[in-house]
């Protein structure tokens, strides 16, 4: 008797529980008692300290330009964006991307001391910066004066870098960090675009390696961008960048580690890193990356 009762209860419980998990029934939020505070559609937020940390992780355009110049590869005006393309950039998102692209170009121009091109570029940058209300942090007057008078080129680099650092800080302080991340994405794609053009023309293994290395930097950048994927423009940018990232899956990077060696000479202490990195990438993969980077970058300038 007891056995039958227990079996009956167990059957009823099983039936009701199975109904709850019935896959044909669409469960909605209304089926659950969820506190209001949890119903916001906000994207998952990463702590600002983590964002700061990640932003620092995306390198400056000056280093890429320095590597290219260090290889004695001459300056090429065709590698940089035409300032007329600025007219295609109308929304805040487009202006932020443009700010990054023209900012990276400015690093390249400054590194080669092409002061005649500086004025045109800083005028474009100032206009784009004004468009997203950060023009006050771009020291246009000092940069114009230095470029016009061909003053110390180091000052040009210093003020350009500091202006961009201040814009970045201000955007994050005013809860527009997504624009800051978009600027960084613009700087990154333009640096890689210039490297891709150089790789086509100069065919230098160090430039190929520099393109391959970007796999490391791209993973940090994608993490940053994904934090703002709720924004439709950022989401579109992520889709474009994911096409590049997919090609980077075929790039393999291996490391061998060694202890750094400190050397003191003339009172200057230098630590020589003893690690070795090896980039394994086929020519086909490199060419695919080059083509995709150029197509994504050109698309961004169309607006």
């Amino acid at each position: 008797m007891y056995r039958n009762v227990i079996l009956l209860i167990a059957t009823v419980l099983l039936a009701t529980s199975c109904r709850f998990f019935d896959s044909n029934r669409n469960l909605s939020r209304e089926d659950f008692d969820i506190p209001e505070g949890l119903l916001d559609e906000k994207p998952l937020e990463v702590a600002s300290e983590v964002i700061d940390d990640m932003i620092q992780n995306v390198s400056s355009p000056v280093e890429m330009a320095a590597i290219i110049k260090g290889l004695k590869i001459p300056f090429n005006r065709d590698y940089i964006a035409n300032t007329k393309d600025m007219n295609n950039l109308n929304t805040s998102f487009q202006k932020a991307v443009g700010l990054g692209i023209y900012g990276a170009d400015l690093g390249y121009i400054n590194m080669y001391e092409r002061t005649s091109l500086v004025i045109n570029h800083i005028t474009t940058i100032k206009s784009l910066a004004d468009g997203i209300q950060v023009g006050q942090f771009f020291d246009f007057n000092s940069l114009s004066r230095i470029a016009t008078n061909r003053e110390n080129i180091d000052s040009l680099l210093l003020i350009s870098q500091q202006s961009f650092n201040r814009i970045d800080s201000y955007l994050r302080e005013t809860n527009r960090a997504h624009l800051s991340v978009v600027i960084i994405a613009g700087v990154w794609i333009e640096g890689l675009y210039i490297a891709s053009r150089v790789a086509e023309d100069a065919k230098h293994p160090r430039i190929d390696e520099t393109i391959g290395e970007q796999k490391v930097i791209m993973s940090s950048l994608m993490l940053l961008l994904n934090n703002y994927k709720g924004d439709p423009n950022v989401s579109k940018l992520i889709s474009d960048f994911e096409e590049i990232q997919a090609l980077y899956k075929d790039v393999r990077i291996t490391y061998e580690y060694g202890d750094p060696i400190p050397v003191e000479k003339d009172g200057v202490l230098t630590f020589k890193q003893n690690d070795t990195q090896t980039i394994i990438m086929s020519d086909e993969t490199l060419n695919n990356i080059i083509k995709k980077v150029q197509s994504v970058r050109n698309k961004l300038l169309i607006g």
Binding site: N57, I67, G70, L158, V216, L269, F271
Partner: protein
């Protein structure tokens, strides 16, 4: 006697007006640090502001360094605080470079780093003996190798 007192008082007030000390701002420190870095190209600055503590509190930043570049790390302390800053460069858990060499007890206002691996590195700043301090660190590019 009264005249001497008045004269002394006047002198003290006058010297109080003229001998004015100014606190060093972060921009001042960046400028000084830039001079320490000499002709290297400025890339980034880091402001370090820490309270006293035991163990000494640490402020951490991350940077991407690129293979084939000689970097210069320069540090500059504010005279308004006791703390003397120490910079340490790490790659994951390995100490790769420092401005304070424990073995010799020597402090360096700037150090150079020949980078052979592109990737994320971590800068740890703390003040000697956990004293409170304000300092600026500068990352600059010396040359490509």
């Amino acid at each position: 006697m009264k005249n001497i007192f008045l004269f002394s008082l006047f002198s003290i007030i006058l010297s109080g007006w003229t001998v004015t000390t100014y606190a060093q701002s972060e921009d001042d420190l960046i400028e000084i640090c830039g001079m320490i870095a000499q002709d290297a190209t400025f890339l980034k600055d880091f402001t370090i502001r820490l309270d006293a503590g035991d163990p000494p509190p640490i402020q951490r930043f991350s940077v991407i360094l690129k293979k084939g570049i000689k970097y210069r790390f320069s540090v500059c302390n504010s005279n308004d605080y006791e703390g003397r800053v120490i910079l340490q460069l790490f790659d994951n858990n390995r100490l790769l470079a420092t401005t304070y060499v424990v073995a010799s007890g020597k402090d360096y206002p700037s150090i150079d780093y020949d980078c052979s691996k592109t990737g994320a590195y971590h800068l740890f700043f703390n003040f000697k003996e956990g004293k409170p301090g304000l300092a600026v660190g500068l990352l600059s590019l010396v040359e490509t190798m």
